[in-house]
Symmetry: C2
Subunit: 273 residues, 2 copies
């Protein structure tokens, strides 16, 4: 029943018009249908849709796979069945074999990151890629590893390397997705708010420092400049929005309202600016 279901799901990339093929995930001798479902979910999380199954032990399709896929049904529906690993990878140009432990073979080993970048690059050149994952307990047999161009092995805690199969698929799929993602590592979400201008910030600093003078906080006078710098630096680090500066000025006003003036001159200048 090799390739009996040749319906091919379009990946997100393909739907966007980017026709680079997405890597296939090939599960060889999967023992638990549930793990096929969680694998499908991890794939779809990262935009992978080409799932191939070699001799699933519990048969196919299987309700437990659907139950554990949490909505990634499209991947399961598009899955194709094969009798042998060789048939499952016949149309691919570059194949990785995922293993948790080293094998006694002279083979190139790639981390998930290097594998994600490599398959992304090859895919952009039109080469079809795939990754073989073996049965849950024992992994791939050596003959299947030998069919692959290279080995995929994640650097993990050497004292506890046992990854669940869907977790292993996720690490590759995640890195493949990241290799094509233009996400910034760190960015501030502003929801339309505008960062405060330095003039707004300085207005706030002046307001605050006047009130602190009134309260006798910035004492003794020779330490005032350093104290002011420290306070200003603290608020500078917060990267304040314009509305947040207005809130802070409101806070100062609320804290000082009705307060008896102890110092000189501060009260006259007080205001919400």
């Amino acid at each position: 029943m090799a390739g009996t279901d040749s319906r091919r799901r379009k990946s997100t990339a393909e739907e966007k018009g980017d026709v680079a093929p997405t890597p296939a995930i090939i599960m060889v001798d999967p023992q638990m249908a549930e793990n096929i479902g969680t694998t499908a979910r991890a794939m779809l999380n990262c935009g992978l849709t080409d799932l191939r199954l070699v001799r699933p032990r519990q048969g196919w399709p299987h309700e437990k796979a659907v139950a554990s896929a949490s909505g990634a049904d499209s991947v399961l529906e598009g899955a194709r069945m094969f009798d042998t690993t060789a048939e499952a990878i016949a149309d691919l140009h570059y194949v990785l074999a995922a293993t948790a432990r080293g094998r006694d073979m002279n083979k190139t080993i790639l981390t998930p990151r290097a594998a994600g970048e490599k398959t992304r690059t090859l895919g952009c050149s039109g080469e079809a890629c795939g990754v073989l994952f073996g049965r849950e307990r024992s992994g791939l047999v050596n003959d299947d590893v030998a069919l692959a161009d290279a080995v995929l092995m994640a650097p993990l805690n050497p004292a506890y390397r046992s990854l669940n199969i869907a977790q292993a698929v996720l690490l590759f799929a995640y890195e493949w997705f990241q290799a094509g993602s233009d996400s910034k590592g760190e960015h501030l979400v502003r929801h339309g708010a505008k960062p405060a201008t330095k003039d707004e910030l300085l207005g706030f600093f002046t307001h605050l420092e006047e009130e602190l003078d009134v309260g006798g906080f910035l004492q003794p006078p020779e330490k005032r400049p350093a104290m002011v710098r420290n306070i200003r630096n603290m608020f500078q680090r917060a990267g304040l929005m314009d509305h947040e500066v207005r809130t802070l000025r409101g806070i100062i006003s609320a804290l000082t309202i009705g307060k008896k003036v102890k110092g000189k001159g501060g009260a006259a200048k007080r205001g919400r600016g």
Copy 2:
């Protein structure tokens, strides 16, 4: 029962004498004990051991957590219980809130990679870090997000972002581990084998080309140089080991043994070198 179990498991890093604290994983209102087990497994895969639980719905300890932890029992045994999120993060210096969707807050958002690097760097400076994960169905409440310094959000397929909680923990833990890993992205495993010297390789090339001359393969003469270059390049790309070169020479000999000599001079030079 906040902090009732204060036994603290040593992480792999600590056991190696590297005393930088490893990030804590804080599960707030986890609904399924099974997910606590799979989370513990994902943590230990990446050398994380500090698990904190805020109000686990099914109580604690729980046999289903042990069953799904697949041997990561040490993390479960060291887990600490808290009544509130604030208590669970009280001793930490930098806290991230994992969310699958944007919130209406002005907050810095980090990818797992940026978060892994940041918490690794802060850890090396002695700052204790942690990541908050919310309940399976609905994630963290906004009040818990507001307790965090920044938000952790993985760039994923925008059409299907629903990560299993252990998968979400894995992506952070994996990136934290990678940030401290000196693994090469791609490397060749040799198992003690020595790469062939160029002299050995050239001996093989000469051997092969002589036999191909004998067989009349390198014809016509004006194309011989280009054909030789193509063949040599093909074998160069394989990065051959010395024993592999000997195997190839054995193959040539096996293929040509007993063969009738058609060309001139080739047979006299034939040998296994």
